[in-house]
């Protein structure tokens, strides 16, 4: 009898061990399955996000193209139909507007072409031996008037005795225009913007810092990517948002790097490096 109970116990134990093994195997399979499912869900969420960003970008682009085109067509229409009723001053204003809107439109088309070349790895710069401080000074003078409209102080702190070196002045101007105009846009009235140049080992570091609200940490890594656009505090951003993508392309075509960090005590500080190349 005792033997029978013992055998029963052994069988029962073996059976339970078997059940546990089967359950463990199934649970591993299940957990792998859940893992795969979660990965799939995360991937889908990311895909949906990218798709949404693309759609938003497209909507913004359509808006940016439509606006100058509507103004050009409308101004021409008004001049053709109402020339007798419009004053000479109005006609001149409308013609000037056609020119301004066409220039703006051309700028957008050029930006799109630049981005397409950057993405295809075919973007090129034309380096000539130039003085970077002279360029920074010119940019600072140009933007001072615009900054003053918002009572913003734009100052420079430039490294003295810099040698001339090879870079593309027109393209560098484009980078600086973008960074400084963004700073003016996102800096509240009576704020400050500082333009700095500093010599490093074998390279220059140029920075544009402001006393605005700064860039949220989660946005910093995405800032130089397509489909990402900065919004002001009232969420009323305009423009294609391609400026920083192009700025990154230009800096990288010079062999440099571009990034954003927090300014002290608050605000954003956009920095980029330009390696010295003699020939």
């Amino acid at each position: 009898m005792e033997d029978f109970v013992l055998i029963l116990l052994v069988f029962e134990t073996l059976f339970l061990v078997g059940v546990v093994v089967v359950l463990l195997t199934k649970s591993r399979k299940l957990s792998r399955l859940f893992g795969d499912f979660n990965k799939l869900q995360t991937h889908e969420v990311e895909q949906e996000k990218v798709q949404r960003e693309r759609e938003d970008f497209l909507a913004m682009l359509v808006h940016e193209l439509r606006s100058p085109l509507s103004v050009i067509r409308g101004s021409a229409d008004l001049i053709i139909k109402e020339a007798d009723n419009l004053s000479r001053q109005d006609i001149e204003k409308l013609l000037a507007q056609i020119r301004t809107s066409s220039t703006g439109l051309l700028g957008i088309v050029n930006d799109l072409l630049d981005v397409s070349k950057i993405e295809a790895g075919k973007f090129e710069v034309r380096k000539v031996k130039s003085n970077i401080n002279k360029l920074l000074q010119e940019e600072s003078e140009y933007f001072k008037t615009l900054a003053l409209e918002k009572k913003i102080t734009l100052s420079t702190d430039l490294q003295a005795d810099l040698p001339e070196f090879l870079f593309d002045p027109e393209r560098l101007k484009q980078v600086l225009n973008n960074l400084i105009s963004n700073s003016i846009k996102f800096t509240p009235e009576s704020g400050v913007i500082k333009l700095e140049s500093k010599r490093l080992d074998g390279a220059m570091r140029i920075s544009v810092s402001d006393s605005g609200a700064g860039i949220p940490d989660d946005l910093k890594p995405k800032l130089f990517h397509k489909f990402v656009q900065l919004h002001d505090s009232k969420n009323t951003a305009k423009g294609t948002g391609l400026g920083l993508v192009i700025a990154k392309g230009i800096v990288e075509a010079h062999g440099g790097q571009i990034w954003v960090e927090d300014a002290i005590p608050h605000g954003a500080k956009f920095c980029f490096t330009l390696p010295f190349f003699d020939e």
């Binding site: 808006h63 606006s67 229409d77 008004l78 204003k93 305009k238």
Partner: protein, 133 residues
């Protein structure tokens, strides 16, 4: 007396274009370029009509519309949304908030805008006056 139109528009191109068409037909066009300035100006001048863009610096046109329609002083003022953002969400939101009309800028023929506004305001023509900034 000339009918007053407050044009809330930050795009200088559109402002020049539509204001030329409207002043030519006798409307007095007053301009503000920031959403945040719009409500104060509306209270101050009590226009017959507000032409309101949506994407504006400082405050969006939809927020201006909401403020305008919530105030007893201004809720009876007619508002035409004049924008290039024609998403269903924006159109529905603007109409819910009390906009009288939603026009897409690129569909508006400037030479036809004065007549459209005249019929909207229930009048025929106006006498020429100046544009005020």
């Amino acid at each position: 007396m000339a009918k007053k139109i407050l044009f809330v528009e930050d795009d200088e191109g559109f402002y020049n274009l539509f204001s030329s068409a409207l002043t030519m037909k006798g409307y007095e066009v007053i301009h503000v370029s920031e959403g945040s300035q719009a409500f104060e100006k509306i209270k101050e001048i009590q226009p017959n009509l507000v032409l309101l863009d949506i994407i504006l610096p400082g405050m969006s046109g939809l927020d201006v519309l909401q403020e305008l329609k919530e105030s007893d002083e201004t809720k009876s003022i007619k508002v035409i949304m004049l924008t290039n953002f024609g998403t269903d969400d924006n159109i529905n939101r603007a109409m819910e908030l009390g906009a009288d009309e939603y026009l897409m800028k690129y569909n508006v023929v400037p030479s036809e805008l004065p007549d459209k506004i005249a019929s909207f305001l229930g009048e025929s023509t106006n006498s020429p006056v100046k544009v005020t900034n």
